[in-house]
Symmetry: C3
């Protein structure tokens, strides 16, 4: 494990300003609650002021406006969370799987695995797949044929990339009501530096490709439909569903369990709150929310009944 480093050494490396003893020796990072001797923590929000007062950390990273909330040795930085990330990476260099293909993986002879890339135990990599340099497939990832992953892409266990999209047409006349499958002849293209969480699924395109641009971060159990495009450096939290042919801009954030309708376009720098269903295009940056506020069950029952009668109430009103 690297280190230890003094606060002064950290500031020399990452910027920011030291307040208090710059010789304080740091060996590791820790949480406000559990950091102890030799550990540095961070304060991301003034709401945690009480926890800060109780921390036993050796030092704290915080913003200028919160500098006076503690007497501990500290690093004052504009973006404490990003600063903390860099410090944590210093003490905990990200170690992915060792490069190479695990003997239990099943990799097509026509797949191309980049230099330094790793393919974990039980992975299945189909024909004509391309995996860029230094990418990492954790165990049990399945990549269907003809999908292309960039460099330094990290794919967590259980992910499925390139399964058929949900393309079905309803039959009329003879056989009415039966479904006819639309062949899914597009692929999936994933840019550099994308990370994809466990058990997420990204479908191949129906006609054109499904595209995840560079730097996108996707959490666990996200479903990305066929022909979706996610713009560079957007972040998609867990349990989100993105229906077919939706186009999401760059630098967007989609909160957990939000749902995006198909065939809509979302501008750059849009933030969708957790649990919100977006049913039409959003041409303007901003934060969008649509959550039914929860209440104690009995109060909800009364309000929900009232809500159903809004229209009727108006007529009578």
């Amino acid at each position: 494990m690297p280190g230890p480093f003094t606060l002064g050494e950290l500031a020399a490396r990452f910027g920011g300003r030291v307040a208090g003893d710059s010789q304080t020796l740091i060996r590791q990072v820790g949480s406000l609650e559990h950091a102890g001797a030799g550990q540095i923590t961070f304060l991301n929000s003034r709401k945690l002021e009480r926890k800060l007062a109780q921390t036993r950390a050796a030092a704290v990273i915080l913003a200028p406006e919160n500098e006076r909330l503690t007497g501990l040795p500290r690093i004052v930085a504009e973006n404490p969370y990003a600063y903390f990330a860099r410090v944590s990476q210093l003490f905990n260099p990200v170690v992915l799987q060792a490069p190479g293909v695990h003997p239990s993986a099943v990799v097509s002879s026509t797949a191309s695995i980049g230099k330094g890339a790793s393919v974990g135990a039980g992975c299945v990599v189909g024909d004509d797949v391309v995996i860029g340099d230094d990418s990492c497939l954790y165990p049990r990832v399945v990549i269907y044929p003809k999908c292309v992953l960039g460099k330094r892409v990290v794919v967590h266990a259980g992910v499925v990339i390139g399964a058929d999209g949900f393309g079905i047409a309803r039959e009329e006349g003879r056989g009415a009501g039966h479904w006819i499958k639309i062949p899914q002849i597009g692929g999936v293209r994933i840019g550099d530096d994308v990370e994809i969480g466990a058990n997420t699924t990204i479908d191949r395109g129906a006609l054109d490709d499904t595209v995840i641009e560079e730097g996108v971060k996707i959490d666990n159990q996200v479903q990305v439909g066929h022909n979706v495009r996610i713009g560079a450096h957007s972040a998609i939290a867990g349990c989100v569903g993105i229906a077919g042919s939706a186009v999401i801009g760059r630098h967007c954030t989609i909160g957990g369990a939000a749902m995006i309708h198909g065939h809509i376009a979302i501008a750059d720098h849009v933030h969708v709150s957790a649990g919100t269903l977006i049913s039409r295009s959003l041409p303007k940056a901003g934060t969008y929310t649509g959550i039914y506020p929860f209440e104690e069950h009995e109060a909800w029952k009364r309000n929900a009944a009232r809500l159903r009668r809004l229209t009727k109430g108006k007529k009578n009103g």
Copy 2:
């Protein structure tokens, strides 16, 4: 790859009427946006009129009422999307995995694998499982013991069929508050021509079987609880959850991320909108919706606060 075919040959095969040059040669299908020389596309909705005007496709499939929207060679058909599906299948015959059991699959000696069926890499097939002729398990599918799949069933990667349902009873008296497991002694029966999307889960029955009738199409990451029955030719979009013992009729469609409560019955030809939670039985065909309309965050905050006070407001009003 089959073809090429002229528009006239396509119409002779699939019906519809050609307008414009019936000798136009078609080699492949494509999207409105990206189709080029030798490619045929389709217009499914008048809303895409502008994209139609810009398409570089060689020909278009569209409905009679939209026939005049373009001067391109075209096939006029009542159901352009289904027509397109058939044309695409002609040019892109669905090729599943090669028949047979992949050497890395683990198949019980008491399982029965039908003629022409394939079991992909890393699949696990339990005791007494039956898989019908020409079915296809993509890689890493797990089928617990005693589940039965019909013919031509397609199961995408990561699907789990027949895991225990969530059957637990809360203990009282001694050990109060602990959960007692209800043994899940039913199985799963899946009809012919069902397709199941990646990472979907279908639980085995608690007492009776969980049943997916013929022709049902299920998208990715759907959760089907124990003892559910889904009627023939219904389609379930991604991220849907269907709780235990719900019965869904035939020819229903359930939109993405909708949730169906347990122990309710839904009639044939019901359509549930995406994101809607269905909390009671629906004895009548129709379309049902329950989505909190999203807004810009600040507007939502005001409205949500008002919503909570509906009851109180009435009292004061």
Copy 3:
């Protein structure tokens, strides 16, 4: 298969009182709808009175207040569902996989597998993982390094434990808008007697561990973020998402597809209704609900439009 047993023998073993012929011979359990000769069923709710009248079961377990709803031989017990669970376990002893590590599993040489534990086909168990006695990993479970499972833990197929949490910080200045990864250096600790449903994901902690206390039951496709703590004997239904650092109390129940925001605390004995998003801490036991009531689509459209104008309406009012 054990048995048969008379009603009298069942009551001697599990308590309760027999009404009707105590010599009635029981060979198996069954549902109200499908139980037949030699089978015992149960009545959990008076709402099922009509089904009870039609059952062909040999006997019924029911509560004292429902005793007179049938003339069938019966066992009268305070908690019919829990009683039924015990009777079903008697006839259907839970048989997990045979102990031992399946030859196709990939288990690190530094992992510790307890006595009587089983590791199913295609599982991947990382370095320094500890799996307690008599635990069962069904096929294709992935456990990342340094996670610890207690005794008698049952993990269904496709589960991923210990993947990286979604910890990213947004860069400012140079490289603004890019995401910096926070190393996820915590682990996952899972208590005794926990059961985890198919394709569920439980992330490792960012700094401290993610903790699932003893006796917790988790259904399929649940997402548990980093640093979450779920208190003992809570039950989490399918498709639930629990965001990072949420703390859930003991003896809670979280209904299907509910979502819990990050960094909030939920008291013991809280019940969250299905489909409800909990966005702030709940310091008090009780039942909480927030579901937009569904309607026929046209009625919903009118009401949703009205809802959006609540604020405006007030101004005009």
